[in-house]
């Protein structure tokens, strides 16, 4: 793996941002971002713009894995190459929609948190753990409700676009699950790399979490626009999370009654 440049944000060393055109303003923390809790035209464009940059970041993480880990199993590299293509289609789909809604690239600040954390890790198993099994799986949870939100706010086209993206993301999470389990079964040391990766993400998230009362650049409380969603059990099952893993996640989210339901169904 080639050496890379780093940056320090609130005491945490992260990988330096990927290259962005000068029209983009790159933010490190939520208080440097813009977003609104409502569904005005401007807010809709910002949501799509942010999602577009997130997909671009995921493209870059998967691409960087291909050049950083030439000795990774070929079948895993094929999955990553396919992911690069998938994510690029997501970017272009969102960009097309952004332009249809009168937006432009660089209209709002962007953040590359997922790249700065994932691509800092020095193992392919660490990166797919954080990027695919955690970030992408988190997106999968959000995607369970996002399309309905767009439909309720009069935009079925964006809802359909998001549903198409969500279908692809399930496979990205699934292949990561497959390879994390396989690589750990082959070599127990890989378990340590997974634990280190998860811990690093935890440290970074805690360091960059906005203190209570933090507002963004348009004066909106960050906690009012933070995206969170309950565990999307159906899609996590499609992505080959085990029942035990889903139960643990539900317990972490105070949703043990769903875990019990899962047990009863099994």
């Amino acid at each position: 793996m080639d050496p890379f440049e780093t940056k320090v944000v609130r005491g945490v060393t992260l990988r330096k941002d990927p290259a962005r055109e000068s029209c983009f303003t790159v933010a490190d923390t939520d208080d440097q971002m813009i977003s609104w809790p409502d569904w005005t035209d401007q807010s809709k464009r910002e949501r799509i713009h942010r999602h577009m940059n997130n997909e671009m970041t995921t493209t870059e993480v998967a691409a960087q894995c291909l050049c950083d880990f030439p000795d990774a199993p070929w079948e895993l590299r094929m999955e990553l190459a396919r992911q690069v293509w998938d994510e690029s289609r997501h970017v272009m789909g969102l960009y097309r929609r952004l332009k249809e809604l009168g937006g432009r690239k660089g209209e709002f600040p962007v953040a590359n948190f997922e790249w700065t954390v994932s691509s800092f890790l020095d193992s392919v198993i660490g990166r797919i753990t954080v990027m695919n099994r955690m970030f992408e799986a988190g997106t999968m949870d959000l995607m369970a409700s996002l399309p309905d939100g767009w439909r309720e706010n009069g935009d079925p086209q964006t809802a359909e676009l998001l549903e198409a993206i969500a279908a692809d993301e399930i496979h990205h999470v699934r292949f990561a699950n497959h390879w994390v389990h396989k690589l750990c079964a082959e070599n127990k040391r890989n378990l340590l790399k997974v634990v280190q990766a998860v811990r690093f993400l935890d440290v970074a998230q805690k360091a960059l979490a906005p203190p209570p009362g933090t507002t963004n650049l348009v004066g909106v409380l960050v906690e009012n626009v933070a995206q969170s969603a309950p565990i999307n059990v159906a899609d996590r099952q499609l992505a080959d999370f085990t029942d035990d893993e889903i139960s643990v996640l539900l317990k972490q989210h105070d949703l043990e009654f769903l875990a019990a339901k899962q047990g009863a169904r099994a």
Binding site: P18, A19, Q64, L66, A81, V84, W85, E87, S88, K105
Partner: protein, 179 residues
């Protein structure tokens, strides 16, 4: 061309495909322009699929699965020179106007030299690769003004890459040390 020579060619074409896939992958985070990143991203998957098909064919030619054979050192050095290009327009041209035509010529030479009947599985792979190369070259212009056009004259860096690749007459290294 005997079976061993076919395997050497297939392994070399695979090596070049993987190298180009990795080069594009390396360029994606380091190229600022979004549309160019996305164009390179599309090509990553096509190059990966070409490498995969060649790798599977290698085993049918008595070589290991995904056999990868380094090309002649002079050609490899030229490829590394191409990978080091840093300007965005030069990168597009280096891939579309230099690497892809070179790769297409290598597939064309293979098709001209092999027996199309007994080696038909490789022939199909080569023909599919040529179709995909044409598609990749077309995508550059299909995206209209989103992708910048070539400069009127090559930069020094691009001209040097073009010259280095053109100077390599033979790509496949049949010596034992390349195995």
């Amino acid at each position: 061309m005997n079976v061993k020579q076919r395997a050497n060619n297939v392994g070399t074409l695979r090596c070049i495909s993987v190298f180009l896939m990795e080069t594009l992958a390396r360029w994606i985070p380091t190229t600022p322009e979004m549309e160019i990143k996305m164009l390179f991203s599309r090509h990553v998957w096509r190059m990966a699929q070409q490498a995969d098909r060649l790798g599977r064919r290698a085993r049918e030619l008595r070589a290991p699965l995904h056999y990868t054979r380094a090309p002649r050192p002079q050609f490899m050095a030229a490829l590394k020179q191409l990978a080091a290009v840093s300007d965005s327009i030069d990168r597009i041209d280096a891939f579309h106007a230099v690497a892809l035509p070179t790769l297409a010529a290598a597939y064309g030479r293979y098709l001209a030299e092999t027996d199309r009947l007994t080696d038909e599985p490789t022939v199909i792979i080569c023909e599919q690769a040529l179709t995909e190369i044409a598609t990749m070259r077309r995508e550059r212009t299909d995206w209209g003004s989103e992708i910048p056009k070539s400069r009127a004259a090559d930069s020094h860096e691009l001209a040097a890459v073009r010259q280095a690749l053109a100077a390599t007459e033979e790509i496949v290294d049949h010596s034992e040390q390349a195995a």
